[in-house]
């Protein structure tokens, strides 16, 4: 965005209103993208979840249900704005906006492509990790100020969860920062190679561990199953947002689905080589517009793949209990994160990035992950085939139903 200002204002001191205008413009663009993504993500998640449960999912509003999220939004906005009796007037109203600010703030440092970034802060990743903890403040305030026991339980659970999962997230990102030497998100991406085995995820077994630790901890940060204790429907009715209705409820859920993008975007930036296009150097990507566009597509592709995995996890695993969730964090994730950091450090010393052995081992780690994905694919096909024959005999029509075929 700063280059934009430079090109418009030319060299020399820039009057303050140029910067302000540019900031407002990028804030608008980011808010537009965040709301569009949040709405579409909620619709796509419900369709994917439905398909995993052999149902259809929303397909009434608009072509194949695309405008479902608008219908939900309008319904919620027009709903009466209820205030529980004995609620705390100020905190109850401002709680959702903490969560919203925390969520929208992280978009600033997240790149979309080589030059498409709101502000390439040189403390990028540190800023991102810091601002996501603002979400906790909003949830606790929401939970406490609704003057309802269920909301209080939900709020306190999320306090315990998000705060304690900050540490594994921080440690995992620390490994990546070690490898790049800088905190800026663009520099992290620049330090990774285009081909998959040059990504930081396959840098070494320890970086792979850091990637897995980050994924699990990010699930907890975003209150996604198996860590969705704060709004556990079956125990706490709706957790911290039990008493919310109308537009404030929209803001809470807006933040939850936008968080999907943030989690996956940070993972893509740090571990999956962001917008790096294979066989194209960083300088070339910066130089030509079409590489920037392709970079944007590559970045979105990787992020959406991770979003699909997060959605699938939500509809597969049950929910952890409060003490088990804490145990997972303190007894399992944090020790592994420490080992990952130490391992990455020793790995960098012994096998520097461009040494032949380093490259070879990166290939080995990459093949290991491919093997894992192959096993998953084989198990999926085996599960499908176990039922195909019987189903067609029972129902008289074939079980195969292409995922892209819309009912």
């Amino acid at each position: 965005m700063w280059e934009l200002v430079r090109t418009v204002a030319g060299q020399g001191p820039v009057p303050w209103y140029y910067g302000a205008a540019a900031a407002l413009l990028s804030a608008g663009v980011l808010l537009g993208f965040a709301s569009a993504f949040a709405g579409l993500a909620s619709f796509v998640e419900r369709r994917i979840a439905a398909r995993m449960m052999s149902r259809v999912g929303p397909n009434r509003v608009g072509p194949q249900g695309l405008f479902q999220f608008m219908a939900d939004g309008i319904k919620l906005i027009t709903k009466e704005d209820l205030f529980p009796e004995g609620h705390d007037p100020i905190l109850f109203r401002i709680a959702p906006y903490f969560v919203f600010a925390g969520m929208l703030g992280t978009f600033v440092a997240l790149p979309f492509s080589a030059r498409l970034i709101a502000a390439d802060l040189n403390v990028g990743v540190l800023y991102v990790v810091a601002i996501t903890s603002l979400v906790v403040v909003g949830i606790i305030l929401g939970g406490w100020s609704s003057n309802s026991k269920w909301a209080l339980f939900g709020g306190l659970r999320s306090a315990a969860q998000i705060v304690s999962y900050e540490i594994p997230v921080g440690m995992a990102i620390l490994c990546v920062v070690l490898l790049t030497g800088g905190l800026s998100t663009q520099s992290i991406i620049a330090a990774q190679g285009g081909m998959p085995w040059n990504w930081f995820a396959c840098h070494s077994p320890f970086a792979a561990m850091a990637f897995v630790v980050y994924l699990i901890a990010a699930l907890a940060e975003g209150n996604r199953t198996p860590f969705d204790l704060p709004e556990a429907e079956s125990e706490l009715v709706a957790g911290y947002c039990t008493e919310y209705s109308g537009f404030r409820f929209v803001v809470f859920f807006f933040a939850e689905w936008a968080n999907l993008w943030i989690m996956s975007a940070i993972a893509t930036v740090c571990f999956l080589g962001g917008w790096r296009i294979p066989l194209v150097s960083v300088a070339e990507t910066y130089a030509h517009g079409y590489w920037v566009a392709l970079g944007c597509l590559v970045f979105a592709g990787k992020t959406l793949a991770l979003v699909f995995v997060v959605i699938q996890v939500r509809w597969t695993l049950p929910r952890l209990r409060l003490d088990q969730m804490m145990a997972v964090c303190w007894k399992y994730l944090i020790p592994i994160a420490f080992v990952a950091v130490l391992g990455t450090m020793t790995w960098m010393v012994l096998l520097p990035w461009d040494s032949a052995l380093g490259k070879a081992l990166r290939g080995v780690v990459f093949l290991a992950t491919l093997g894992l994905l192959g096993h998953l694919a084989r198990r999926t096909v085996a599960t499908y085939r176990a039922d195909a024959a019987h189903y067609s005999r029972m129902a008289g029509q074939s079980l195969w139903y292409a995922p892209w075929r819309l009912p």
């Binding site: 125990e235 509809w315 695993l317 049950p318 209990r321």
Partner: protein, 385 residues
């Protein structure tokens, strides 16, 4: 004095040394209390000191109604006793009346009753295990089980015309014979269904989080289970080898081979929530085996003994026990020779399962209480009648 104050007063004089306990009302409208049950939780944050159940929200006075409605007319009411296991309730009531009347049931009717009851047991266990997984957050297996249950609903719809409140059995036999192609359709569904149980196991039963949430949670010992009068899968999960179908051998069950799955501490202590879950899943497999044997041995013959339209039972009393999906359902029928029962007492499995929750609730977390209620498979109509 309203109940809440009484509970509070009771707690005061029990002088529980709790610093700041909060009273939370879990229910009667709560996502994970099956039906209309209410627990007053005395919690200190997440950990509970006592869960005081309040029941009676779904009390319809079934036993008072029995004294006004003629014998034949009461059969559809027994469906409503436990709407998830209507067939077993029908069979219990029919057996009590036949025992007092002294009329036999033709063999084909007995086998049709076995088929209907086993289909209904599978459907009831599907809902039981499905809602248990959903209460712990795994939504998908519940929907897969509902998908299989739809097929059972269609089968019973073809068999007796209704999907839930069957009113399929009559006193002295069965209301309808098998429709055309019923056996073939059921067997084809069973071939599809058995691999689905393995898939369900892989998806949820062996899932480490699911096991961690259920293993070693509120174990119930054999002595405690018998003392509180637990029956059915809850009793067998505590290790007591008691199944009415095999031990008191009613109907044609002695002619079939089937095992009675027991709780063996599969992933924790014997009698914990995970055992109750696994016992129900194994019982689904046993019911499938029973169904296959039943379709092979189905004899020809008429399906209902001659029983007059205006039925008057001789004075006397009879007690019939039937193995319903939620345990032994007992029908104590007293007749004074009139047109309708003088007194009918129905004893159900959920009634005693509900009474044990309060004793187990000390020290549980709210999430564990949800798992415990799900594992005991307590539903409101059976508790309140």
């Amino acid at each position: 004095m309203p109940a809440e104050l009484k509970d509070l007063a009771q707690l005061r004089e029990m002088a529980l040394p709790i610093a700041g306990e909060t009273m939370v009302n879990m229910g009667p409208q709560h996502p994970s209390t099956h039906g209309v049950l209410n627990f007053l939780l005395v919690t200190d944050g997440e950990v509970m000191h006592r869960a005081i159940p309040h029941v009676g929200y779904l009390h319809r006075g079934m036993e008072k109604l029995a004294e006004e409605v003629p014998y034949h007319g009461y059969m559809p009411f027994t469906d409503r006793l436990d709407y998830l296991a209507a067939m077993s309730a029908n069979q219990g009531y029919a057996m009590a009346v036949e025992k007092l009347l002294g009329c036999g049931v033709p063999p084909r009717a007995e086998w049709l009753r076995l088929i209907a009851c086993e289909l209904n047991r599978i459907a009831s266990h599907l809902v039981a295990t499905g809602t248990m997984a959903m209460d712990l957050g795994a939504f998908t297996p519940f929907i897969h089980w509902l998908r299989e249950r739809e097929v059972i609903n269609d089968l019973t719809e073809a068999l007796c015309g209704s999907r839930l409140t069957y009113h399929y059995l009559r006193i002295g036999g069965v209301g309808y014979d098998l429709p055309a192609g019923f056996a073939d359709r059921t067997l084809r569904w069973l071939d599809h269904f058995e691999p689905m149980i393995d898939e369900f196991d892989r998806l949820i039963s062996h899932n480490e989080i699911f096991v961690a949430r259920l293993a070693n949670v509120s174990p119930i010992g054999a002595a405690m289970a018998i003392d509180y009068g637990l029956v059915g899968p809850n009793l067998r999960a505590s290790g007591v080898d008691w199944d009415l179908r095999r031990d008191l051998a009613y109907s044609v069950y002695p002619e079939c081979q089937f095992e009675v799955p027991l709780g063996r501490g599969y992933r924790g202590v014997v009698g914990d929530c995970y055992d109750r879950f696994v016992v129900r899943v194994l019982e689904i497999r046993e019911s499938c085996r029973l169904l296959r044997q039943a379709f092979e041995r189905l004899p020809e013959g008429e399906i209902q003994a001659k029983v007059g339209r205006k039925l008057k039972l001789p004075a006397g009393e009879a007690y019939a026990r039937v193995e319903a999906p939620r345990g032994e359902m007992g029908f104590y029928l007293v007749s004074d020779g009139g047109e309708s029962p003088y007194r009918l007492k129905v004893r159900t499995g959920s009634f005693s399962a509900m009474s044990i929750i309060e004793a187990l609730s000390h020290g549980l977390m709210i999430a564990d209480l949800v798992a415990l209620i799900g594992s005991l498979d307590v539903i409101a109509p059976e508790v309140d009648r």
